[in-house]
Symmetry: C2
Subunit: 206 residues, 2 copies
């Protein structure tokens, strides 16, 4: 059965984006520092359609493994709004993306296999559609932080993967902020120690 | 030259204690879950004067290395108040502890080598006294979270060691809360992957 997983970059102090995040500045001030480890990987370069080949190695292996397992994506409205003006035309998902929103809109088909579907009847419906679209593959909760917290609170997340960047950002958007889900036990599934990032994957005990 | 370091257990969602922390419940509700990995280690058992020998292995190696390097400690008033009624008479520091407080008090000498000194003229003075007492050894900022943040903001911390427990606590006292220090770059110094905890040590780039 397919899994639902969260895969996010965070700073040591828990930020997923810097301050002043908005369309045109999607990761906020300093936010790209959280994802530095990823920008040179071959998988990222290919997903974004950038020039060059990028680097292979343990960081890239992680990017490739995540890319390979994604059958569909769930995304919050704010992340979509920021990405809509920032992603290349050939958007980096290359699969169906279900955007949780209050505003109905026709599906938006992009070159390269990404289609955004706008779901207005809540998280359960969004997840249900994403699961069906994923088939044997997995559903990635792409973000932002609000949607991740909603999914954790709803108990639908099977795995939480954090890429912890060696950085105190000080200001911005926190992953774990405001009212949080109830206490949950996790199991450490994998730790990969790179010079520029610490990858830690957890299984959520249900 | 001696180093100033922070060494703290945190949950994945960034808590160093659960809710309702107070004297008599020093780690708050659920807070001991953050430190489960440590309670069975030989170093912890010895430092607390508990019965039995405890376990050796990678987790204990980390406890022993921290114990061996501590020449003195800096502590916030709240942590002291909570610990005063909770620590055994033979307090677990076995060295000089400088408590940052507004209330003058005579030094409090405990059996086993721990003496608490109460410093009322600010953080810089507290650190200066702790550094002098440490000699060739290092100064550990013992906590709580407020004092750690003050020390990070003052730029006096050389190393940050986090022991990340596989747990979402949901409520309690966060390490990185409220106004945080300015952006800082870190370097990953060491990652130790245990089943019950992920130990990540950073050097703070100055």
């Amino acid at each position: 059965m397919s899994k639902v997983f969260v895969d996010l970059g965070v700073s040591v102090d828990g930020f997923v984006a810097g301050p002043n995040a908005r369309p045109g500045n999607p990761l906020g001030d300093g936010g790209p520092l959280i994802h530095r480890w990823m920008y040179q990987t071959a998988g990222f370069v290919r997903n974004l359609g950038l020039k060059g080949k990028g680097r292979t190695g343990p960081d890239n292996d992680i990017v490739e493994a995540v890319t390979a397992r994604c059958g569909s994506f769930v995304m919050g409205r704010r992340m979509f709004d920021e990405g809509e003006v920032g992603w290349p035309e050939n958007a980096p998902f290359h699969g169906p993306v279900y955007v949780l929103t209050n505003d109905a809109r026709e599906p938006w088909v992009r070159p390269g296999g990404t289609t955004f579907y706008f779901v207005t009847d809540g998280l359960a419906s969004t997840l249900s559609q994403a699961r069906e679209a994923a088939g044997e593959k997995d559903v990635r909760i792409a973000g932002g932080a609000d949607v991740v917290r909603q999914c954790l609170a709803a108990g639908v997340v099977d795995e939480l993967h954090l890429h912890i960047a060696p950085l105190l950002l000080g200001k911005g958007v926190k992953l774990f902020d405001g009212p949080l889900p109830e206490r949950s036990e996790l199991e450490v599934a994998q730790v990969v120690d790179s010079p520029g990032v610490t990858h830690v994957s957890y299984r959520i005990v249900k």
